[in-house]
Symmetry: C2
Subunit: 201 residues, 2 copies
């Protein structure tokens, strides 16, 4: 790699890390190109030599968040009884813990909207979809008779339900609950959902 390319790669990495710190501290709405440029020591306009646009920058930060979430879920999977039901409960609680510990970065994953007319690029969609395997695998063990498509639907339903409990619970709005209580409620609801799904299968 040429010196110029090396320098660009390094600056780009610094830019992504600066954006991550900014989102983590003040959310998506608080992030300003000007501040990021100053922090990494380049001109405002030069930021767009490093990333295509703000969408790409935010998606790159999201990619780092998803990688850490992936690690947290992998850890939760192996960290207890191997029964698929217990695994699903641990994954749900780990998702809650991750969101609470990375509140703004986790919110940014869901709040970010592409500029009008732009689609989320395939690499970002595929990173997001890949995380569903944590839910899919235990479900496939519980429901061996279901097709991959049916399992995919159940996985998304289960994720959305848990996400809703985490989102409203952490929002401190309408359904605000202390974290310890929220973890218990999520565990109870996932157990009930799985019990009910098995009973009705």
């Amino acid at each position: 790699m040429s010196k110029a390319l090396e320098r660009r790669a390094k600056l780009r990495e610094e830019l992504i890390l600066a954006a991550e710190r900014s989102i983590s501290a003040g959310g998506l709405a608080g992030m300003k190109t000007r501040d990021l440029a100053r922090e990494i020591g380049c001109a405002n306009g030069a930021v767009y030599n490093l990333v295509e646009d703000m969408d790409e920058l935010i998606l790159r930060v999201g990619s780092r968040t998803l990688a850490r979430l992936d690690a947290a879920l992998t850890n939760a999977e192996s960290n207890g009884a191997p029964s698929p039901r217990e695994t699903l409960v641990r994954i749900a609680v780990a998702y809650c813990d991750f969101a609470a510990a990375n509140l703004e970065l986790w919110r940014a994953l869901f709040e970010h909207r592409m500029e009008p007319g732009k689609e989320v690029p395939d690499w970002a969609i595929s990173e997001q979809m890949d995380l569903f395997r944590h839910i899919y695998r235990p479900l496939a063990l519980l429901f061996p008779q279901r097709t991959p498509e049916q399992l995919g639907i159940t996985a998304r339903s289960l994720f959305s339900a848990v996400h809703g409990m985490v989102a409203l619970g952490l929002e401190q709005k309408l359904v605000a609950v202390p974290l310890a209580a929220l973890r218990q409620q999520i565990a109870a609801m996932v157990k009930a959902m799985v019990t009910g799904l098995v009973a009705e299968a």
Copy 2:
């Protein structure tokens, strides 16, 4: 009422309706005091003789949205078998339908944040909390041995789970699904949750 007070009450009502149309068309982010003032034919500053601030205006619109949601849920309650399980399923599907038909107004209920340092006023909180009775009542029939506090927790969990499925499903992001499929998935998940909760009670 004096002529001046009458006129103020009428203008205030017009302002709230204009805000409702604006949110309905372009979401919270698209609403501008200037446009609302022009629409009701008053000076920009005069808007703040009609409502305390933007927070109050948004909450008044929210109050109208909640009243319509309340009516939709009441209708769903009586519109089918009286069994509490079936009632819970119908309420969840009605919530989904309402959100889909009132997307921006429904989103505004959850996206609105008070200005820093300001609390949501009691009247608005109590209107929000009042809607939980639709979930609470069937749950109380299903679980007569539970305390009001326990029933309240289960009602919030159930609501958050359904809200998550609706929110991500309608978001057309990560978990986008056609409305007919989403309604089916919500019905299936609520059935499973209730079955599981009953089995574990």
